[in-house]
Symmetry: C2
Subunit: 224 residues, 2 copies
């Protein structure tokens, strides 16, 4: 087995730094994050990125799979909670916190791997159980569906203000922005409790969030 890893440790460290940087840059720059920016933020050369991932898309796919793992893990921990409401609330807070919404802009720009869709299904199932449990306990307003929760997480997941302060290098204000956001999240969570007037319309269809990952259709038919 000998002679395999002259600089194995550094390689592993770089891989981790790359994924961390990609997540951050994706959150700040949106769908047009560039590989150069990601590599720079990770403090590595561009070649190190391409040594590990054959293309930008492959990096992003891997990132999605990891994020889905995180969602699944958080949902499982939520289900372990004795209090159904606390379990759901912690799930929502955690999903929002680790900027899961950052991957939203990727939808439609990369192909969905089998691994991704399997994890997507699993994550959905766990959320369904979290929500059902909260409904049974009367801890969640009865007219709020799992889809409503997913959309709420998506809506809260991105923080335009924090992302922009980040881009401007205003590190001094970011703490304030972060705790301000905690309050916004708390307001939304309070809105999920029972004893509120009925929500408008009917619960949104679950296809809304899955269809978006289909590859984009032709946009501008160009004819000569």
């Amino acid at each position: 087995m000998a002679r395999r890893a002259p600089r194995h440790a550094e390689a592993a460290r770089n891989d981790h730094a790359l994924l961390e940087a990609a997540k951050k840059v994706l959150a700040v720059d949106g769908a047009h994050a560039s590989v150069a920016t990601i590599a720079a933020r990770a403090g590595v050369g561009i070649a190190s990125l391409y040594r590990r991932y054959r293309s930008k898309d492959e990096l992003f796919q891997h990132l999605c799979a990891l994020a889905l793992d995180q969602w699944i893990r958080v949902a499982e921990r939520g289900l372990e909670h004795d209090d159904p409401w606390e379990g759901l609330a912690h799930y929502i807070e955690a999903c929002v916190e680790f900027s899961g919404g950052a991957l939203g802009p990727l939808a439609g720009t990369i192909a969905v791997t089998d691994e991704m869709s399997a994890k997507f299904t699993r994550s959905d199932e766990l959320l369904g159980r979290l929500v059902a449990r909260a409904h049974e306990a009367g801890a969640l307003r009865p007219d709020a569906s799992a889809m409503d929760i997913s959309l709420l997480i998506e809506q809260l997941g991105k923080s335009p203000l924090i992302d922009q302060l980040d881009r401007q290098g205003r590190g001094d204000l970011i703490d304030a922005a972060r705790s301000a956001r905690k309050r916004t999240i708390a307001i939304a969570l309070d809105g999920l409790r029972p004893r509120h007037p009925r929500l408008p319309g009917t619960a949104p269809s679950p296809t809304l969030l899955s269809e978006r990952w289909e590859h984009a259709l032709a946009e501008s038919p160009k004819q000569p």
Copy 2:
């Protein structure tokens, strides 16, 4: 005064179409919306854009001024409401509705004109009155400040899902997404009513939202 406007009507129509298109494209493409895309969406040539605005920035500044007008008008209408809560709720819904959040990504990328900052001040003052009135009537949770409301509007103002469906040309799903969003907004509004546990931390400072418009600092010091 004769001989002044051979094609005045068309010019006015184009101007309107340009602003409408710019708002839409800005919402969908974010800060890197291109003039070509805007002109195409408006159905006019690029030259028509540059005939009216000396630069991309000037167009965006004008757009900001118009959006601020809209905010001010909506706040004034909110104050006309007899019911303080209804007034505030309609204000929030309206601000979220006309995608005021679409201008968030512009912050820091264009210079702030005097006109803009004057309108910003006026808008802030009106929101302050709306919130104070709701507080006095006990219709708004006492621990929610005007800043919290502004941040909530900002957070709800962008809809990643709708923007993306738009980009993909999935017009069939947009209605569903829009009514789903109405529910998310309703949840957040319910979270603003009284009789909820206290919000975490203290009310965020108002400087948070004004400082972001300062021009970005130097980011990457390049030396030869």
